[in-house]
Symmetry: C2
């Protein structure tokens, strides 16, 4: 831990340090952006990521830049907000201090909004070989790997070897898995036959969606779950329910029931694990590695340290087992906490948080979706339009909204995502040479 | 060299193998796309890159995807065109065969359209430390490095160290150097003060453009050259003419006249070097590593092997020292060679190539450009509009045209490129851990 202090202006204002600029942390920072607190937002990236559309980046339907937004742009002309690009290694609650590779910083109030990462449930082999989808960088990598493998398949005359390059296995039947499977199936139907006329797409390309439990989209209504499965099967996706993946060595997926699939690509969307910061008391870490908080988002037993979003675990009468780990929860907690901070400065009492369920939805391929509102479930084309509108409005920035909208329109009209590009930033020469020597 | 043959259909048609899908190779392949030849296009990337706008990608004004276009998309429904993603290691003209990491392929006609890469004139230290700008990946890397260094500058309290993070040195006064310098200067003026209010941008950020000769934009008219310099100096760029950079060790740029600049970033746009394929006779390699060709683009003394574009060196009466290494030359050669191939199949004689100079142009920051038409030179706002229109129409694909246009419009209206994003595809877990261990 470096002994230097991060360069930050000292001021009369109380300092709120927010760790993580996801849905929760960003909402909190935005709502405090004109307050009388000094707000320090710390994130590994220089941009906010709109996670619900990662799968479209992976499927070459959208560019990363359309669904991410630079923090500095959001906080232009907000002189009380300071952004630092780094990770937080640990916290010392006694000294009210966090430690980062750039140095340490003191806080008056700390908010842990670090979210969750992919959960491999301790299976080291899976972790090493499966492809995760929890960041826009990971989505881009998935895009590159899929496109590269199709290119390789053309110069692979052996049938079995070629099969394992073109087949794709998705593990996890939540929204990410379902939406990925649907959009891969559309790509198989509309794009691959045109791009790869040399490949017998219909006969060779298989898309598997494997779910451990008996239902897709657990947490949505049974009607929506069944409809999603129906849609996927109509699109030719092989949906395997009640099937548990036990291993993947980079070549073969093995299942508990003895089944095997040869493939080079397993996309792992089967679970998440919260990422608390080191240095918090052990007894506050609970289910799914989440941090137990009270109704004020305050970490149990601590002063001035809060957690919100996917990393937080709060019980309330209507949600005795905690809230769903979705964007809505994080946004509502971030907004609520900002309101409480302002109330405190005005000499008012903080208020308890209550989650308001606005429903949930998932899209399955082209022009089909399932939507669960609190008292009403619907699906089909109108559900898809609802999905589009809700997501379009949730994306930050007018330019991004416009670009996503145009991309969707073009893709809808000509069935042809045109972003099938393998692009990576070049490495420095020295690193390029290291890589070449390894090959 | 692997003994396997690349998987390619054998047919009655003569096979034309094109190495490189830049302006020349792509034009040739497109013009032959409905011909009675089997066309095999080989490129390291899966997309064509529109080089004239790399600098806007580097400056966060455009996304890579707006200026590149997937080859497979271009050749959908062109059953005589086959695309292979790989590099060509060497050629055996006796056996009429090329060798790649994927295996070998035979050709009836071979076209070398491999272009040119950055030339460090043998200075190994420069090659290791300077940042090149000859691919969209390199442009993205430059963008990431610039943004990361601004972030680092905020946590670097020492003045000198901070200076070397925010100052930028561009070497080479050709179009790339001039356009980069202009757009960096605009960023300094309009974006940095808003994004980095903590930084004293006016006092701290310096942009240098260093040119070995007495004029910028060598090859354009003296009027345009002087105007470009005037524009740049008005924007605050420090233009150093008649100045030769002798070394850069990653910290200090040293010049022949004894001058020194402390910086972490040197962008090297000072020269290019053609990249012929190994296995060609040594005596055909001439000035700038280019391949000497006759007026039919045929490599001197060879049958059935051609070179076009930046890698080719052709003398004609009006261009006794060869053609300028620009997109126009490549496009015209590619188109001409396609026409000759078709003529030969029709039993006609091949025709000699003649270059038609359509003029040249460069843009300097916002709403300013210089344009040289063969008999007329102009500059200013109207020249800038001309530049925009010409480049917009030259970009492949309606979607790309539309996205570039909207981006330009938005950037023009709000002075604010919003693509200031540091994004990289994630590495596979195993590689990530290797990297972490190194740190």
């Amino acid at each position: 831990m470096p002994a230097t202090k991060i360069n930050l202006p000292e001021s009369e204002m109380e300092r709120i340090v927010i760790v993580g600029g996801g849905f929760g942390g960003l909402q909190l920072a935005r709502k405090l952006a004109k307050s009388k607190y000094q707000v320090v937002l710390i994130d590994k990236e220089n941009h906010h990521q709109f996670q619900p559309l990662f799968y479209q980046v992976a499927m070459a339907g959208l560019e990363p830049s359309s669904i991410v937004f630079p923090f500095r742009r959001i906080f232009q002309n907000r002189p009380n907000v300071f952004i630092r690009n780094t990770q937080v290694d640990s916290v010392d609650p006694e000294k009210k201090r966090i430690f980062t590779p750039l140095g340490y910083a003191n806080y008056d109030h700390l908010i842990v909004a670090t979210g969750a990462n992919t959960n491999y449930f301790g299976n080291e082999e899976l972790r090493r070989h499966a492809i995760p989808m929890k960041s826009v960088g990971e989505a881009l990598r998935l895009r590159n790997v899929i496109l590269e493998d199709y290119e390789r398949s053309l110069v692979t005359p052996e049938f079995d070897e070629r099969q394992s390059l073109v087949d794709i296995v998705i593990v996890g039947g939540g929204p990410t898995g379902v939406e990925l499977a649907g959009s891969l199936a559309e790509m198989k139907k509309h794009v691959l036959p045109k791009d790869y006329p040399e490949l017998n797409v219909e006969a060779e390309v298989d898309i598997y969606l494997i779910q451990a439990g008996p239902l897709l989209l657990k947490g949505m209504s049974e009607k929506s779950s069944n409809k999603a499965r129906e849609y996927l099967e109509k699109l030719g996706v092989k949906v395997l329910l009640n099937t548990r993946v036990t291993s993947f060595d980079g070549e073969t997926v093995k299942m508990k029931d003895g089944g095997q699939i040869k493939t080079t690509k397993v996309i792992w969307a089967a679970g998440i694990k919260a990422m608390p910061i080191a240095g918090l008391p052990e007894d506050v870490i609970t289910y799914g590695n989440r941090i137990a908080v009270d109704r004020y988002c305050r970490i149990e037993g601590m002063q001035d340290v809060y957690a919100i979003g996917d990393v937080a675990y709060m019980e309330e009468p209507d949600f005795p087992k905690g809230h769903p780990q979705v964007a809505q929860t994080a946004i509502q907690m971030g907004g609520h906490l900002a309101k409480n901070f302002k109330r405190i400065q005005q000499g008012k009492e903080a208020e308890k948080f209550s989650y308001s369920d606005k429903g949930s939805m998932a899209t399955i391929g082209r022009a089909r979706a399932v939507v669960d509102l609190p008292n009403f479930h619907f699906n089909g084309f109108f559900a898809w339009i609802t999905w589009l509108v809700v997501h379009l409005f949730a994306i930050l920035g007018t330019r991004n909204k416009l670009f996503v909208f145009i991309n969707w329109l073009i893709n809808y009209v000509n069935y042809n995502q045109s972003l099938r590009l393998i692009i990576r930033p070049a490495l420095p020469i020295v690193k390029q040479e290291e890589e070449q020597q390894k090959d």
